[in-house]
């Protein structure tokens, strides 16, 4: 089966800045795939190369087997992109926007599908409202609708839930999951690692223009052994026997890693002996966020970069 997305040795330079350093990536049809990484890692650049918004310095990219440069018209027909920025054309209403977008893809009689996406994205009441008058969340829904007007088999969402309220976020994911069940390939970038963990079957992590991890979500999580124990303790020195277990300390919290649940008892015993009181305790299973922190660096890197 032709891969939905195939990227071979794609490099991208902006002047002296190297945005992508030889990316190889294959995403099969029907996958729900996440591109994760700190800001500036190259996620959006990679998406823009697939969409033809950016031209790769070298290497090739294909969508459903069509080269994004030499076969750009076919490649673009098979791809729907939800851009990261909240962009809109202030001259038109929601419905006009969708009719125009259909026309760009050569579709003249697309009204029944437009009605359906308007309905499924809960835009019915706003269908004849000018884009300017919509809230941010509503504009985001229209962007999703615009990416779907031509029923593309491959859908790319660049941070679709940034700045979106919880209710819309859930509704949006439900819709995207349905599309995935119907056979659409979904590629997304997000900063919400919990969302990626629940939704995506496979994950690529990018750092400084390179893929540093590429595996199924489950394999990545399984790669972390042990259970995390997050504690807030009364003041006092930590017993020496526990020091090797400490993984991190921040803002009064101390995180320890234990291999098995039975070790927790020993930890608590050592604390009692040292006369340290446990003020707060939380047990944490390994999750994608932990994998991310381990592979890419601390989560706060995301905000700093």
């Amino acid at each position: 089966m032709t891969p939905a997305v195939e990227v071979n040795q794609v490099k991208k330079r902006f002047g002296t800045l190297i945005a992508l350093e030889g990316i190889d990536l294959k995403i099969d049809q029907g996958e729900f795939f996440a591109l994760l990484g700190p800001n500036g890692a190259g996620k959006t650049t990679l998406i823009h190369i697939l969409a033809g918004l950016t031209l790769a310095s070298s290497g090739t990219a294909r969508v459903m087997g069509h080269d994004v440069v030499t076969g750009y018209q076919e490649a673009r027909r098979l791809l729907g992109v939800v851009p990261q920025e909240l962009v809109f054309d202030p001259f038109f209403t929601v419905r006009e926007t969708l009719v125009i977008q259909s026309g760009y893809y050569g579709l003249k009689k697309n009204d029944s599908w437009i009605d359906e996406i308007i309905h499924r994205l809960d835009l019915t009441e706003k269908a004849n409202t000018n884009m300017r008058a919509l809230s941010g969340g509503m504009k985001r829904r229209v962007l999703v609708a615009q990416a779907l007007v031509h029923k593309p088999p491959v859908i790319v969402l660049d941070e679709p839930t940034a700045g979106v309220d919880v209710e819309l976020r859930q509704g949006l994911w439900r819709f995207i999951q349905e599309l995935n069940k119907d056979g659409h390939t979904i590629v997304l970038t997000t900063h919400y690692l919990d969302e990626a963990e629940v939704l995506c079957n496979r994950v690529a992590m990018l750092k400084q223009g390179k893929i540093v991890a590429l595996d199924t979500t489950q394999n990545l999580i399984n790669s972390i052994s042990g259970i995390s124990l997050r504690l807030r303790l009364s003041p006092g020195p930590m017993p020496v026997t526990l020091e090797p277990l400490v993984r991190s300390r921040s803002e009064g919290y101390c995180t320890l890693t234990v291999k098995e649940y039975s070790e927790i008892e020993q930890v608590l015993g050592a604390l009692r002996k040292a006369q340290l009181r446990v003020l707060e305790m939380k047990l944490m299973q390994p999750d994608l966020e932990e994998v991310f922190v381990k592979i890419v660096g601390s989560k706060s890197d995301q905000d700093r970069l």
């Binding site: 823009h48 033809g52 918004l53 950016t54 851009p83 962009v87 054309d89 001259f91 760009y104 579709l107």
Partner: protein, 251 residues
Amino acid sequence: MTGFYTLLHKEVQRFWKVSLQTILAPMLTTLLYLLIFSHVLEEHVQIYPGVAYTVFLIPGLVMMSVLQNAFANSSSSLIQSRVTGNIVFVLLAPLSHREIFMAYVLASVVRAGVVGIGVYLVTWCFFDVPLRSLPWVLLFSLLGSALLGTLGIIAGIWAEKFDQLAAFQNFIILPLTFLSGVFYSIHSLPAFWQGLSQLNPFFYMIDGFRYGFFGVSDVSPYLSFGIVVICFMAVSWLTLRMLKTGYKLRH
């Protein structure tokens, strides 16, 4: 062709929805020029024998508004789309560079035509302007507006900010139109300035257009036609290349 037609339709709707600013305002400006210049100069100047100055002025002013509005349409649409970011919807679609080119140029031609016809009709109510040859009038207005619409695409893509576009308009387009013989015949100029005027492609557009009305012009309309066609082809070639390579549009 649906893609091209949709983009053309969208571009026409864009200016039509704000026609107070894109059609009526330039019409008013042009009519004010006519009112003031004809009042000041009517009794002092006669350029072509037997043609009143105001009547001489009308075709030039019509053409000037045609050219300026053709340029304004494509350039302002593109810079707005680029600054606000919604150009992405055009760039994501499977539109070819030729389709994008034709849609923006034709939308400019349509707006220029609406403004030009509007100005002409208003003046027609008050003045008796002869119309010797409609084909020449149509030919030069279509070619001229297509040329300026194309220049507008270049400016709209080249400019990063609104003030750079304004500079392009104020320091290149405006002087070239004003010095092209809208308000005078270049035969009234000293030899040096006459020679310089003949290097201005806008002169040939105005001169050829005016020939269609009076059957008189500073140079042969065939020469003007040839020069305008060559300019249009050169500028179109450059614009198509810019669109094809994605200059400043696809980074």
